[in-house]
């Protein structure tokens, strides 16, 4: 047996977020795109809606959402902000606050999570380095115990939200090597406030997602207290995947939201646009791709909520780590590509306007493109599914 | 039928004060309903112990008893009759000519009898005139019982009200008390198989509906101003003037008027009565451009309206706001300047005969309802238009 509907609370929340976004977010996207910033009052307004770090325990200011509910918010934000900036802010923070909340120390959580839930700080993730992305085992950033403190050295790049942290405060859930001989088995996860002395931030110019920053930082002899260690020392690699999986599933929700919104824009346009004496929606050359994209995104959407549901089941001990990894990877493997293909056709239907900077769909296209990489590339997703199907002995690089 | 249960009556005198026709008197410590009761219901409403009950036999009534089209007039104090009254009289004439009945006008106010002749010139065969200090400004508590009573007594076939703030406050009160249907905001009225076919917009103007009331009389409707045509006034027309003795004691009213905050009139013509409206929105507000619109409205003989933002930004009074939360207008010409044209605004102006939109944003939704659109800066276009009008009008 299978129950296949959202709860009434979830439907109500979706409606409420949709109404909130229609009033507070969508009308400001253009301004955000131009100013390359999410206005602070908008983040405050999200906090008032209790949308920031929503899965976190209420003790630290969260709402105790389950993963499915967090996904609903992601989908609605994906519909509402064609630059995906607010969705990224939301999902990165939600996912890593989720892990932080689950494995962090009470002292560290009390200090760093409530400001984030109130909209006064950002919580991000820093694993990627100039030399490595997918292949975490070859990371160079290190964390070394020194008395009752730890010292961090190294460099991270392509990190979302560096400027936001500089602006509001907060920091990044970070992964570094502690046992240098042990590869992934010697990594430690910790919370790194970016305001600490010894951290030097630089910003990058990205192809899209105008209103949220991406950048890197050098870390030289930065001291952090022991309480900032998340989970057990040298066990960071195992819990980092919980955050990744959470983020990947919500990314898929954002992609579904963005693609569906774009298809709706497209439907409106092709009914109105005439060529050769009739609405272009009358041509099968337009209808068929519409039908295909709609079908594909609908299937993706349903499977995405299944993946989120698996994450919830895992919390109750009803699904295994590996099942979750595989299901989420299947979703993340295609979400960005399919969304891009749908949006690409919507751009195409709009002719030259589709290529114009004023067309929201091209901005959505550029934004969604980032999700083929961020929080794990689509290729790596395939390696995960293959690993689950074939067994560890067939992992290519062993 | 009205009954007063003497055993319940506590002698509070409220009904005596409330009766607009002065037919309730005190006999000893009890109220007694005398002759001339119109079943208007004022006493029943006010009685604190529910001693008074009215039973109306509205089911299985003899529909043929009901005859005549009534128009409920609205005045601006004792200054003038609102335009829509004449429009409804014109419509009433058209309907009665088909029905073979007569048109009456209900004229309530203080010092309004002087308008009776104009009403007759505009099509009324008779005018019921009720005057009282308590009727000097519209209020449901004073107007509803008088009209309810007149309808009960004279049994018209059709009663028309203006779909103004006052009319929409009054008509449903009357309809509910007489157990009658009421059709709101009509833009079309005709006779079909002897019944009043009432056409009205619903869903914010996205659909139209034809409504009938086959089993109850009178058939009642509120009608949008500026839609029906008034007849050419005919000074030779004669009609009957019937004085309705009205005796209302306002001290019985439960609603007390504390303050009147009328917006300063920017023009002599009201926004909902104007033939030409030049309306401005955000774009005009932020640049102090309303002076330009005043000038254009001036040369065209129209008035200046505005969208909601203009009121929000404090540069125009609420009384000239067009839209769902303002006034619904249907002038011959509506010129929307720097108005993006939200659904809420469109609801209020979509039924204008001709719509011109001037906006520098080609994507503004206002262009979708406009008959003529100009993309550009109004600060250049409006002055050019003023010049053009003056040139052609020889002004």
């Amino acid at each position: 047996m299978i129950t296949y509907e959202f709860s009434e609370e979830q439907e109500m929340l979706r409606q409420s977020v949709r109404e909130w976004a229609a009033k507070n977010l969508t009308p400001r996207v253009q301004e955000m795109e131009k100013n390359k910033e999410i206005p602070p009052d908008l983040i405050k307004s999200m906090a008032k809606m209790e949308l920031l770090c929503p899965t976190v325990d209420p003790e630290y200011g969260g709402s105790g959402f389950d993963a499915v509910t967090a996904g609903i918010v992601g989908e609605e934000l994906g519909r509402a902000d064609y630059t995906a900036s607010v969705p990224v802010f939301y999902l990165v923070q939600a996912s890593w606050a989720h892990v932080f909340d689950k494995y962090g120390t009470r002292e560290c959580k009390l200090k760093h999570i409530p400001p984030a839930t109130k909209g006064d700080a950002f919580i991000g993730i820093a694993t990627t380095e100039p030399g490595i992305g997918s292949d975490l085992a070859n990371m160079v950033t290190t964390i070394t115990p020194n008395g009752d403190k730890y010292v961090v050295n190294g460099e991270k790049n392509y990190i979302s939200g560096v400027r936001e942290v500089k602006q509001y405060g907060g920091g990044h859930v970070t992964l570094a090597r502690q046992n240098l001989r042990a590869g992934t088995r010697g990594m430690t996860m910790f919370f790194l406030p970016l305001g600490l002395p010894g951290i030097d931030i630089t910003e990058d110019e990205e192809m899209g997602r105008e209103a949220i920053s991406t950048g890197g930082f050098h870390i030289s002899n930065v001291e952090i207290p022991k309480e900032n260690i998340i989970g057990k020392e040298e066990k960071g690699f195992y819990i980092v995947h919980e955050g990744y999986e959470f983020a990947r599933a919500i990314i898929a929700c954002v992609c579904c939201g963005a693609a569906m919104k774009s298809l709706e824009n497209g439907i409106k346009y092709i009914k109105e646009r005439n060529a050769f004496g009739r609405a272009i929606a009358k041509y099968e050359g337009i209808q068929f791709p519409l039908a295909e994209h709609y079908t594909r995104i609908s299937m993706l959407r349903d499977f995405t909520y299944k993946a989120l549901h698996m994450i919830d089941l895992e919390q109750e001990g009803k699904a295994s780590r590996m099942e979750v990894s595989k299901t989420v990877a299947m979703v993340k493997m295609f979400c960005a590509t399919w969304a891009m293909q749908a949006i690409d056709d919507v751009m195409q239907w709009q002719g030259a306007f589709g290529y114009n900077k004023e067309c929201p769909d091209q901005a959505a296209y550029r934004a969604v493109r980032s999700f083929t990489l961020a929080e794990g590339s689509k290729e790596i997703m395939k390696t995960i599914v293959a690993r689950e199907l074939l067994g560890k002995e067939f992992i290519t690089y062993r | 039928m009205i009954t007063l249960a003497a055993e319940k009556c506590i002698g509070c005198v409220k009904c005596v004060k409330a009766c607009p026709f002065g037919v309730i008197v005190m006999k000893g410590k009890k109220a007694v309903i005398g002759d001339g009761c119109t079943l208007c219901g004022a006493c029943e409403q006010i009685c604190p112990v529910s001693a008074i009950t009215i039973e109306r036999a509205m089911k299985d009534i003899d529909l043929t008893q009901y005859s005549g089209v009534w128009v409920v007039a609205e005045t601006e104090g004792s200054q003038r009759v609102k335009n829509f009254t004449f429009e409804l009289l014109g419509k009433g004439r058209e309907l009665t000519d088909i029905l073979g009945q007569s048109v009456s006008c209900i004229l309530l106010g203080n010092d309004v009898a002087k308008f009776a002749d104009t009403l007759i010139h505009h099509g009324a065969d008779s005018v019921f005139i009720g005057e009282s200090e308590a009727l000097s400004r519209y209020r449901a508590e004073a107007f509803a019982p008088v009209i309810t009573g007149l309808i009960s007594r004279y049994k018209p076939c059709i009663v028309l009200f203006g779909a103004t703030h006052a009319g929409r406050d009054l008509a449903p009160r009357v309809a509910a008390s007489l157990e009658l249907g009421l059709t709101a905001d009509c833009t079309g009225l005709s006779i079909l198989d002897g019944l009043l076919l009432q056409t009205r917009p619903a869903f914010g103007g996205n659909i139209m509906a034809d409504i009938i009331c086959p089993y109850t009389r009178p058939q009642m409707a509120t009608v949008r101003p500026n839609v029906m045509k008034k007849m050419e006034p005919d000074a030779k027309r004669a009609g009957e003037k019937i004085t309705v003795p009205v005796k209302i004691d306002a001290s019985s009213f439960r609603i007390v008027l504390k303050e009147i905050l009328d917006s300063p009139q920017t023009g002599k013509v009201k926004i909902d009565e104007a033939d030409i409206i030049v309306s401005g929105g955000r774009g005009v507000c932020t640049n102090g451009g309303f002076a330009l619109l005043e000038e254009l409205a001036g040369v065209l003989g129209g008035v200046v309206g505005c969208s909601r933002v203009a009121v929000d930004l404090g540069c125009r009074p609420k009384s000239v706001q067009v839209g769902q939360s303002g006034t619904t207008v249907s002038p011959k010409l509506y010129v929307a300047v720097g108005i993006s044209g939200s659904i809420q605004h469109q609801v209020g102006m979509k039924s204008s005969d001709t719509i011109v939109a001037i906006n520098n944003d080609p994507a503004a939704p206002i262009f979708q309802v406009a008959d003529f659109g100009i993309i550009g800066d109004y600060r250049a276009i409006i002055p050019a238009l003023v010049v053009e009008v003056k040139k052609n009008r020889g002004g």
């Binding site: 109500m12 929340l13 409606q15 409420s16 109404e19 909130w20 008032k48 809606m49 209790e50 929503p54 | 601006e76 449901a140 509803a144 103004t164 703030h165 406050d169 449903p172 009160r173 309809a175 509910a176 008390s177 009658l180 249907g181 009421l182 059709t183 709101a184 917009p201 619903a202 869903f203 914010g204 103007g205 996205n206 659909i207 139209m208 509906a209 034809d210 409504i211 109850t216 439960r254 609603i255 008027l257 504390k258 009147i260 905050l261 009328d262 917006s263 609420k318 939360s325 010409l333 659904i343 939109a357 979708q368 309802v369 003529f372 100009i374 550009g376 250049a380 276009i381 238009l385 053009e388």
Partner: protein, 264 residues
């Protein structure tokens, strides 16, 4: 103090169309929302309840099909203390007379009430009649077009729109208000915790038997008005864009077309 807030579930107006083949309204797939005027009335009611302090209660009341539950759940999330949905086949097809009668009977069944808050009008039927008709059924004084309300003991002070501007009136409760949002009203969107709370508040569904009424006065049967036909409004002709080289040129063009059309 007991406040009743009347809320109607309505389709998102801009989307509604007439099926040209059957001549009926296409409601399928049209999202349903709480009538925006009612949201304002309700939020004002919640504010008044809070102002009245301890023991004050606000009940959201709606008549409609079972799906109208969602409008009431939203009302609960926005602060109503409990909700009642009047739902029964017998209520279907009601015009404003029958609707106001049914609502009034339900209010009657709730005992002594102090205040009824209605929206000025529903954005679908668009009549603005239900409130005043209900007031008449209940023999209550009505204040329509209310924009701002304050409470002092048992007396309400209301700023209401009139044909010529505004007036301030005072009314002693019990009374019925129909409300229209002022320009600066921003409707609330309930946060998650309010939604969770809403689910725990009392919610009831009442059928015709619950309100003790004359069956002949309900629904289609009790409605004096009949909708004979619905149709799409005549389409405006495709608009014409005027594109002159200069302001003077377009102005000239506009004057010409308006003069030709007899508008000027």
């Amino acid at each position: 103090m007991l406040i009743i807030a009347c809320v109607k579930q309505v389709p998102d107006t801009s989307d509604v169309k007439v099926d040209s083949a059957t001549g009926t309204l296409v409601r399928e797939g049209v999202p349903a929302v709480m009538n925006p005027f009612d949201q304002f009335a309700l939020e004002e009611g919640v504010r008044l309840r809070d102002a009245a302090g301890e023991g004050a209660e606000i009940v959201a009341l709606s008549m409609g099909p079972p799906q109208a539950r969602s409008a009431l759940m939203k009302a609960l999330a926005l602060g109503a203390d409990r909700a009642i949905l009047l739902t029964d086949r017998a209520f279907a097809g009601a015009d404003t007379w029958a609707t106001s009668y049914t609502l009034a009977r339900a209010v009657g069944a709730l005992g002594k009430i102090d205040l009824i808050m209605c929206g000025l009008q529903a954005v679908d039927g668009d009549t603005a009649q239900t409130g005043p008709e209900m007031a008449q059924h209940l023999r209550l004084p009505q204040v329509t077009y209310a924009e701002r309300v304050t409470l002092d003991g048992k007396t309400l002070t209301v700023k209401r729109q009139t044909d010529t501007g505004y007036e301030i009136v005072e009314v002693r409760m019990p009374a019925l208000l129909t409300c229209t949002p002022p320009a600066d009203f921003v409707p609330s969107t309930p946060p998650f915790s309010a939604i969770i709370k809403a689910k725990k508040k009392p919610y009831e569904e009442w059928g015709a038997e619950k309100i003790n009424t004359d069956a002949d006065k309900l629904g289609l049967k009790g409605s004096p008005t009949q909708v004979k036909r619905v149709f799409s409004p005549p389409k405006r002709g495709q608009g014409v864009m005027l594109e002159g080289n200069s302001a003077a040129a377009v102005a000239g063009e506009l004057f010409q077309v308006l003069a030709k059309g007899g508008v000027l």
